[in-house]
Symmetry: C2
Subunit: 444 residues, 2 copies
Amino acid sequence: MTVSRTICLGFLVVIAVGTILLMMPFANSAGIWNDPIVSLFTSASAVCVTGLVVADTGTDFSFWGQLLILLLTQIGGLGYMTTTTFLILLTGKRFDLRHKRAIQQALDRPGISGSSNIIRSIVATTLIFEVTGMLLLLPVFVKDSGWQRGIWLAIFHSVSAWNNSGFSLFSDSFIRYQSSALLIFTISALVILGGIGYQVILEMFFWLHARWNGKHETLTFSLGFKVATSTTIALIILGIIAFSLVELRVPERFGSLSSYERFLIALFQSVSTRTAGFNSIDIYKMSNAGLFIVIALMFIGASPGGTGGGIKTATLRVLTSCTKSILQGKEEVIIYERKVSNSLIFKATGVLIGSVGTVIISTVIISITDPNLPFIQILFEVVSAFATVGLSTGITAGLSSLGKIILIITMYIGRVGILLLMSSIFGDPRPTQIHYPEESLLVG
Amino acid sequence: MTVSRTICLGFLVVIAVGTILLMMPFANSAGIWNDPIVSLFTSASAVCVTGLVVADTGTDFSFWGQLLILLLTQIGGLGYMTTTTFLILLTGKRFDLRHKRAIQQALDRPGISGSSNIIRSIVATTLIFEVTGMLLLLPVFVKDSGWQRGIWLAIFHSVSAWNNSGFSLFSDSFIRYQSSALLIFTISALVILGGIGYQVILEMFFWLHARWNGKHETLTFSLGFKVATSTTIALIILGIIAFSLVELRVPERFGSLSSYERFLIALFQSVSTRTAGFNSIDIYKMSNAGLFIVIALMFIGASPGGTGGGIKTATLRVLTSCTKSILQGKEEVIIYERKVSNSLIFKATGVLIGSVGTVIISTVIISITDPNLPFIQILFEVVSAFATVGLSTGITAGLSSLGKIILIITMYIGRVGILLLMSSIFGDPRPTQIHYPEESLLVG
Ligand SMILES: [K+]
Ligand SMILES: [K+]
């Protein structure tokens, strides 16, 4: 079986098992059987770390149901991080999704002794950050909810944040904690680090390690590191400015807050919007301009090799660098003094076209199945599902069954990636040795 | 001055002259001075052959005002067709927008004796089609409005259709003629031929000429011809299917029509939506799904070297072929057994990113200046302006002044093209001889 098929089927199997378990009475807070569509939606949303909900996680599910959702999230997040990290290691060689053997070869590179080592290292990194996050969140939740519930809240939200899942046990996400600096900074840090990719964390660790040991020789960061960090920082700043200018100036809604509190909101929404899907302000009260900015940020998403979704920062960077090159009349695309290969540019273009196509088709279908909803809410919901964000203007639970199923499919496509899914369906390409002459076209 | 600067400034100058003339009392049906913003908007809309209106062309402007609008349309359409045709001829060599000398060289190629010949040929082609269209439309209009007004209506709408301008002397565009086969087929043919590009018409003419003279040697069509014709046909069929499935099934609105009449509507809307901007059904009554399909079709637009707008069929084809290549694991992008050069792929990507960026920024600004409008209407209006389509859900005249100015800028950017505009602003690129090593990234 090809690698892409393994990944696609793997996610399907976990979603199916999760659905069956979530349907059972032990998962329901009233001890009754859960609706199949609600269970399927919740399982898919958890495994794809989307966080869109058609039932209130904190009240409709029992403790065991909540734990199950958390486990599905953890499996989905870890699974995605692991597989994409392997794919990144592969890109050192000629990029090919399809051959398992190639992955084994990649793992035999100097410095990496085997696949089990990488998996162990990813699991350890995950645990370290989740436990640290849990300890930092503890004082906030214990103060409000006592020790027993406080510990559960801290564990749940730390795991949820690291995996960028966006599930929350509060029906209003973090609106009640919008001014709690400790919670906002902890959750934001978990979201950013979980979404920035394992490779980046590893290189950061090596750098800190070298510094600590007083080694001052220059440590070269990879192109992936530079692109992920710089694009993430730029997008966070852009998001803060956009939210401050467009949303937070409404005096009726935010006039009573200090500028520091407004900064906390803008920071949290900027960080969380691109993929985590928590919110500290009401999404359904946002203006059209604000919602559209959120849609754009969601669509871009997190970085490759992390737990987040979207077309990814690297894809955006390749595409914008391509645009810059053509404006400068250059024949090559250069990022940080490194040439970007043609196949990478093709791939970025393919990701964009496939993603836009998926969003358009889903949006049209849901516009037909649920014709009375405002268009911006449908587009918002579809992009949120596709980019595994989980923000919503509140229409999820009220969608028709067909609309919900379209959203489930969108979440799944968004998670495994449109190109990977296609290559898993169409299988191995037939290699061709025919070369054709070049001919030009006028575009644009 | 660079070619790109000449083109950008040329459009600006014609728009400015048009604005001043349209402000004057002779252009107004009541003989008073026209509002400056209305005049600027109308002039920009005419020169960019967009067809969005903030005043009713048929009643608010005098005959002389209407004639002026028609002349501005003809100058804008011919000017665009001529310049883009030169750019297409240029693409035979290394593509470069910037050097006038290169264009002169291109015109010295065998078979083309000089730039004046091409311009003369384009003007002649335009006149032939416009007069033919006028004669075909005559019976329809003369029957309803008598000879004097009938002739004027036939001239105006034939010129408007060939230039894909979408201006109409009827306040409801062609809704009253939705079942008139002669009008629908004539306007559709003018729109398609005007939008498909001069190069395609020329090759078609050569082919017919060879056939007529009984020469049966195989005539090779250019890649541009194949891409423009096949993509146009595919999009027209796709549009007919989409409109039939999504819009025309509503029994309250279309139940009284025969299936032939419904086909006429679907055909006309499919043809007209991608760039002409006429309509034979009420746009503001369309469903969200229908409007979103229209937005997608508008954004794609017509073919290069014609009078239409949008990102162009060739750009779409390069991008989708690129996606297909990466799915097939190929290292080259092939269209009709011709290799597509890397710089062409970069350019198509640049056009897409620049266009999406322009639409996003315009939509966000108008969402802020006119916060009470439904989002889909704003997005629709912006894409319609950008792709020089001119369809509207009816919000144009009611927009705030700032909103109107943003639309004017959007029309202008959409017409000259975002890449051409950028290169005219930033001027000649500094050539670089530095070569960087390749490094890979994981995208998507
Ligand atoms: K999420
Ligand atoms: K038009």
